[in-house]
Point group: C2
Chain length 404, copies 2
């Protein structure tokens, strides 16, 4: 009566596993700044709440497995504005980006199959890899190259007969890298050569700080049948709790398979779709204001990090995360210590240890992911706690003893 | 660049795959009575909407992966009233019962492992079996025995070295059978002998029409470490679109594994939990009224079926479904025909073909599942359309040619 191997292999989320320590800190009267999780503090747009109030629902019923007609139509208009024309057979509504990842991986991989992912990577790809019993095969992106797509040779070196797909996140959680068109072209040449799918997680599409918007993978006509897009409203409209996303591909067979998985879970959440239909009609000024706010936050985080001796990082071009290498042997021990043993004026900061964002064992041990999801004044206070912590921290004996 | 085997094996939902035909019927001006899906028409309790209005949410944020504190506390009080004491480490909140099934199966089964299920079974177990690449091994329950647990010898005959669990639905969707304490004791002796888990889907717990309430599997002390409960608010409170459920077990290792899967998908829907916390405090009169309504519906369906020559069924003791054997060679063809070619006063009825509720190939071909989820007057009209349809229907040539 043992649990499954996949249950035993499933990693605890690096973003969430230390939450009990944060709860304990709060119970001791500490305020905890959460830079560990991409939970924006931007208010959910009022039009979304209005849509909910106006909905006049008598019975909160299932939606169609592939999503409600009104919301699907709003998604089509949204993607059209991004240069992507989707017919009804090209997409389904999912229970957030998480479920879109689940369905995409399940549609292309059998147990034992492999997906090449540029690391540092979104930690939950590892979780879904365990759930579906597939292998997440990392190819490490260099911090000094701004976490750009690793060179073609590095990708080639990872290909085996079990390789089924290349998975990218653009803009990238956790690195903030935005893939340039040239990088996507390299990726496309690679997947065409080896007859693979390319799955691109575009949930941070709107969050970029350079001049060029990220290119949607479905806007590239040369790989229509291979490209799969994962998307979510969570970050875009500050509705992480609504659990609404989307899976899209011009490969109709793939979407049709995903729809069968979607039928097994019956329906994505209905209320989130009602709210989402309203949000998707927000004008460009909504996005511009939000991005401007995140740009200020990014600049503040980078400015504060620059003042911490021994800390290495680069200004991210997109999303709202930065990976930083700290001058500590084990960042998880440091994060635990911040929560358990450190404070500045009864406040402390929670970060996500970097190791969980790598699939290569032992990699990222000295790194953390910082989510700049708080307003500038709080963010600077949270960052200064990290700086003060780094000055005060003594690695524990237990840490030195910890094996990779 | 083929899709995965699991994608190809995934069954289309028998409950939903014919929805496009229903949509087409509506487009032609027909009214369609939906007896194909367990979507109750009972109004969502007003206290749930009030809770949502009062919530004053600024940012619709993630909930903890295992559920919000207030909702979890309400769940604990609810289960206590059913004789089940759950400590915080014994359960997690899930995205409806569907996700609870996914996590339960993934926690106990690796690819190729087997789960014994009494059939007719809830069709989506097959879908999750495909997604997780495990085998749903059916043991057929006899209609003439009221779909009771098949005899011990039949269960024994299905055991292999890969068997990991017995999965039951109590009260049963689609048969309406309520497992008596004696049957559960047989099941328990069986799983103890073979060192298996027993997973029980109890989403219809409140819906029973006899004197004895279904016994929660977690209320049986002799198998604390083996028993896993799947639950959902969807039917109980007519909130199928809220997507809120629960996975519980005294096996803390199992819940801890499920929590890792839950962390990979970050959070169950937040709004559903806020509404659910209010619903779980509803008084016993709420349930009594709902059950009385369903009892009237059940009686109406059985009365109508009794008047149709050649139709075989039994009065279900629980849930809100009845399996009926129709005097047709292929019930799916009949269901398609009802939607495409038949009407009574511009109205027709949609049913779920029975075949998808079996894992044994070819079984259930002449059966349908009827969900009695409409008010009595509509329900009788919907049933009389079936009766008139049976009198008029001529099996198509295509049907006779269809291979199992």
């Amino acid at each position: 009566m043992n649990l499954s191997q996949r249950a035993q292999r499933a990693p605890a989320s690096p973003i969430r596993k230390l939450v009990p320590l944060a709860d304990a800190a709060r119970a001791r009267g500490r305020r905890v700044f959460h830079l560990n999780i991409g939970q924006p503090d931007i208010p959910t747009p009022p039009v979304m709440w209005e849509a909910l109030r106006k909905a006049q629902i008598d019975v909160l019923s299932y939606s169609p497995s592939g999503g409600m007609a009104e919301f699907r139509a709003a998604l089509q208009r949204y993607y059209r504005r991004h240069g992507v024309e989707l017919a009804p057979e090209h997409f389904i509504v999912t229970t957030a980006g998480s479920e879109a990842i689940l369905f995409a991986l399940a549609a292309v991989c059998d147990p034992g199959d492999e997906v090449i992912v540029s690391e540092p990577l979104y930690a939950n790809y590892n979780g879904y890899g365990a759930l579906l019993d597939l292998r997440i095969v990392p190819v490490t992106a260099a911090p000094e190259a701004g976490y750009a797509l690793p060179p073609r040779e590095a990708l080639e070196a990872r290909v085996t007969p079990r390789t089924r797909a290349l998975l990218l996140c653009n803009p990238c959680n956790p690195t903030g890298h935005v893939y340039a068109r040239g990088e996507l072209e390299t990726a496309i040449a690679f997947v065409r050569k080896h007859d693979l799918f390319i799955i691109v997680d575009e949930v941070y599409r709107e969050f970029f700080y350079g001049d060029d918007a990220p290119v949607p993978i479905l806007a590239l006509p040369e790989i229509r049948e291979r490209a799969v897009m994962v998307d979510s409203l969570s970050k875009r409209f500050s509705v992480c709790g609504a659990r609404i996303g989307c899976l899209a591909s011009y490969n109709e067979e793939l979407i049709s398979a995903a729809l069968k998985f979607a039928q097994a879970r019956l329906s994505p959440p209905t209320l989130g779709q009602i709210m989402g239909a309203a949000a998707l009609e927000l004008p460009p000024t909504y996005y511009a204001e939000v991005i401007e706010e995140y740009r200020r936050r990014r600049d503040a985080v980078i400015e504060e990090l620059a003042q911490m001796p021994g800390v290495l990082c680069r200004a991210p071009q997109g999303a709202f995360y930065v990976m930083a290498k700290l001058p500590v042997p084990d960042a998880e021990d440091f994060v635990r210590w911040l929560l358990q043993d450190f404070e500045v004026d009864r406040e402390t900061t929670m970060l996500a240890p970097g190791e969980g964002f790598y699939a290569t064992p032992g990699a990222g041990r000295s790194e953390v992911r910082i989510a700049y999801v708080l307003a500038e004044e709080k963010l600077r206070r949270a960052m200064r706690i990290i700086g003060a912590g780094l000055r005060a921290y003594q690695p524990s004996a237990a840490t030195s003893a910890r094996t990779p």
